[in-house]
Symmetry: C2
DNA sequence: TTCATTTCTTGATATAGGTCAATGTCCACG
DNA sequence: CGTGGACATTGACCTATATCAAGAAATGAA
């Protein structure tokens, strides 16, 4: 599991063996069965997770009991409720669970801070990472406000084709903010367009 | 202008006078008339801006020439295209302009990095800031995907009542992803509800 | 393999919100 | 002060997408 984490980091900065060893002491490896929760709404988020195998998702439940998927996290992605983690009083509004049998590395806030102090490159990489996410979120906001359901689906396919292939359609619909029925119809329409 | 920046920082960390003086060397003060651009689509973003007076906004233009407002930035807010700034090759997809006569402090990437090296508290504060924004963006995504136009309007009023009062309605509509006509009707409906 | 459960598809119908067009209101600026 | 241009309101109509309902297909456990 840790080798995945190492090579993830080393796409940007080389680690000494000492650094890598130190890193390993900070994470808690954990296997998760499909459907198992890392965290539920109302809990206080304790850990952020780096996914080394499988796929997790985070979602919220609206007042009508409907799920809205916020993020998918396959291998090499981070998933966490940073808000609740950073603010140990705030209860999380997110559920996070595994949608495949998965393996994750957990890290708590204190360890994460230790990591940033000890390996300054990590702090930089981390900051760049959240900045990039921020930009991606802005794009998603704009497209959710202005693009049609089909356009949003196409964008997703283009950007995350690997994810699209491994998740059930109704989850993708939830992520895109459309009903499963509409997604089904869009796909049908698209496939007929291609044939002509 | 700089005193606004100072007190903004000092809500979290006290600055020595030396630190404050150093800080001042890194920012470029600039006055902006209503309607003036800080940056246009296609340009390479050079500066991030801290608003000390007035209000700016960032927006994208879609393929049909329609504007979609991404962010408002009144006093004490940052506004920038971090993506294009961090990646000096990438052309920005954003317009940023002043919607009131405004005053801003500009900072380029190099200076920002110098600031983070020199005042480590700044780095931490900055990271926490973008993390918080991230969480806010997630909320906006979920609500844009699942809430009705009226709900989104109400949320905005609750969260940013001061902004709501000073911007033109059609800009708020653009931010919320609804047409100006719909916003007008929602407001009418809400006011009649209150009277009953 | 078989049965049960979950997921996907399809049709019929309803509705939130968009678009277009006309009118009303309010300033800013000569 | 008037008046032109931006902004807001209102009405009529239209369309994308939701919802409800039923059946088909896929998946997986025994």
């Amino acid at each position: 599991m840790f080798d995945i984490l190492r090579s993830y980091f080393e796409t940007k900065n080389k680690l000494t063996d000492d650094q890598f060893e130190f890193m390993q002491t900070l994470f808690i490896p954990r296997k998760m069965k499909k459907g198992e929760f890392l965290q539920r709404e109302g809990e206080i988020a304790k850990y952020g997770a780096f996914v080394t195998k499988g796929c997790l998702r985070s979602y919220v439940m609206d007042t009508k009991g409907k799920e809205h998927i916020v993020q998918f996290a396959p291998e090499n992605w981070w998933i966490s409720d940073t808000e609740s983690m950073a603010n140990p009083l705030s209860h999380s509004r997110y559920f996070i669970d595994a949608i495949e049998n998965s393996e994750v590395l957990l890290i708590d806030l204190a360890s994460q801070e230790k990591l940033m102090e000890t390996i300054p490159e990590f702090a930089i990489q981390y900051r760049q990472g959240i900045q990039k996410r921020n930009a991606a979120k802005d794009k998603r906001i704009v497209s959710s406000l202005s693009a049609t359901a089909e356009e949003r689906y196409q964008e997703f396919l283009k950007k995350y084709s690997t994810i699209a292939q491994r998740i059930p359609q109704h989850m993708l619909a939830s992520y895109l903010g459309i009903s499963p029925e509409t997604l089904s119809r869009i796909r049908k329409q698209m496939s007929s367009k291609k044939i002509i």
